[in-house]
Amino acid sequence: MPANGNPIPAEALREKPLETAPGRQPGIDSAASALAHFKRTLRRGPALAAVLLLAVVVGVAFCAPLLGTTDPIAINPALRLKLPSHEHWLGTDAYGRDVYSRVMYGSRISLIVGLGAALMGVAVGLLIGVIAGYIRLADAVLMRVMDGLMAIPGILLAIALVSLSGASLFTVLVAITIPEIPRVVRLVRGVILSVRSEPYVEAAISLGTRVPTLLLRHMVPNTVPPLVVQGTYIFASAILTEAILSFLGAGLPPENSSWGNIMAEGRMYFQLRPGLILYPGILLSLTVLSVNVLGDALRDALDPRLARRL
């Protein structure tokens, strides 16, 4: 959980890049058996629970309007801060809006933020990482820029971007993704550096394969397993960062509800209506928990060395 708006470095979670450890790689050779292993891990214990819960959250996000929710934005100041009742299953917030509907609709924004940040972070990180990993000259410069980027606290970046171009979903997404990029770059660069010395890459070079095809066909596929795993960690920390940013008033516009927003607005009434923080908080924590567990299962499935330790 990003304690300070500066999300946990996902590469710290992924300890070491999944470089094809020289000489010890005969384990899982093709994607097919990795998926089989992944399906096996999914069928038992925590991973199964994680998948079910994620399915529920995604289901809630898609069919929120059908789940007995009213308009999450409709305010009714007369019914402020009501306790859970028949019409309002989870009570109402400071503007009299139905908390249950807002939490349901909130899942949409949080999933979009999570997914968006993961995809954007991985895509940009992959591009820069490949360049840094393959072109020696670019490497030194790019990595220094990444160091610099990591030193800027995420919260400053977020507030600056949000106030620069208004609190829209896109700016918040960019603000959350930028601190993640240096970590993805570092990971991808690690993989590219270790893969470029692999015999099958050198064989391709001697076969006259042009650089772009060489990168795409032989090197980038190796970055896929670690990137998929890192994507899950970014997904999880993005949802939490959005909550932190909203908590500090630099997140999404409060009109459309996201779990972060609901909690931020409910912060003041914690001891009066703890539900305002707990309901979205629990759902948020469980979603992040399941994404992390899924991330672990994926990492172990895709990294033969760790598989044995499950």
Partner: protein, 313 residues
Amino acid sequence: MLAYIARRLLATVPVMGMVAAIVFAILRLTPGDPAAIIAGDAATPAQLELIRRHMGLDQPIHVQFLLWLGQLVRGDLGLSLISNVPVMGMIADRIGPSLALGLSTIVFTVIIAIPLGVIAAWRRGTLVDRAVMAFSVFGFSVPVFVTGYLLIFFFAIGLGWFPVQGYKPLAGGFWPFYQRLILPTLALSTIYVALIARITRTSILDVMDEDYIRTARAKGVKESTVFMRHALRNAAVPIATIVGIGMAMLISGVVVTESVFNIPGLGRLVVEAVLARDYPVIQGLILLFSLIYILINLAVDILYTVFDPRIRY
């Protein structure tokens, strides 16, 4: 070794210069300006313009940047635009609490997390291992303000064991000082214990596959000694890395915990300065953070040589 440290420190200058330039540009592009903050509600545009000229904000950006660099070289971070107090002083007031909270959390975390990680690795696959890992994943997933409020609700309000908020410097006696750090340390530690326990476990398990572990067993060495003397020592490098990263993040301010427990740390100063567009303070802070970040990385690298004789500079 000293030559290496000197070289590393010299290399920080361009990085910090670049960071300062990026931040300077972002700030100047951000709408809203400090003059409006000072003048308050009823200021007319003319008055705003005058205040801005006094603060030198009307000059082109690069001139302002050079001016600021000039001051920086002389070691002066300038005055806060809002409260005319030297930036260096403001930061100095805040370093104490941030350092105290950061150190207390890191030490508490290391004392709890490393043994936890070791046990999880030692009892791999058993219930204990799963429990530790489940706790660690959960530790990641709960926002710190939820944990913070719950801790205050039960221990400060409910049982009254700890004060609700505030920070007392160490000079005022150890207990009043540390009493106020216990709850925030607990709130933060749920995250960092999770992170470090996890990585301790995984790096130990990575090491257990190494050949020298098998050699140690072949020497008839007890499994616990194999674990502690051979495995843990070799797993120290990745563990040191994550502890370093954790430390850097804690020092650079955990704004949410600081606001929930009202600890006047660097995190809160960043948010206040950004919201008030107090440019000199923001720039001073960013330089401080990048310096902290780089110094901690350097410290961790040097620590590597202690743990692993193969690494020499």
